[in-house]
């Protein structure tokens, strides 16, 4: 509790100053772009979404093995759904990891 009030008191004077140090950290995980990226699969209909092609699905995973959200990849809702299904199938077949633990040891 004591530390809480201390923190509050240190923040109080800085709040009077122009915000320079209180600036939010840069978006680290998924950088947002100004213009919306177009869905790669709508652009090129022939582009396959296939659970057997683990390498191309890898682009839609974070480095921890999570599925990237649409806002990070720019895929449309329909294709995002298909990607998600394909990734889950590939995980079942151990073509893709479920978590980063798998990547380190396996």
């Amino acid at each position: 509790m004591a530390s809480d009030t201390e923190e509050g008191s240190t923040r109080a004077p800085s709040a009077g100053r122009p915000r320079e140090r209180t600036q939010r950290p840069q978006r680290s995980r998924y950088s947002r772009r100004r213009t919306r990226k177009k869905c790669a699969f709508c652009d090129d209909e022939s582009l396959p979404i296939d659970y057997k092609k683990a390498n191309s699905l890898q682009n839609y995973l974070t480095d921890r093995g999570k599925i990237l959200p649409r806002r990070a990849t720019g895929t449309c809702a329909r294709h995002q759904r298909r990607i998600a299904v394909a990734i889950k199938r590939a995980r079942h077949l151990a073509l893709l990891p479920f978590t980063a633990d798998h990547m380190r040891s396996g």
Partner: protein, 99 residues
Amino acid sequence: MPGYELVFIVQPEMEEESRDALVEKITATISNLDGQVHEVEPWGKRRLAYPIKKRREGFYFLMHTELPPSAVRSLERSLKLMEDVIRHLIVRKEETTTT
């Protein structure tokens, strides 16, 4: 009869002959269920993304098959009973889009 893709992973310690015998056995199982195997694609030995049954590698096989839809469950059951098959997946084939 709809087309199905069957992918299965065989445990890595298996000899080539017994592996071939196993593929043969699965093919026979499918034909016993009034299905057909059109093509077998062996992917060879691959590293698993995570261990399955303490194995870090496995032999992957992809089969393009046709099956009566009612036979899928019994094929799945017989695959589960094969101890050398450590993982399998049966997926309905789509003509236009691959989902």
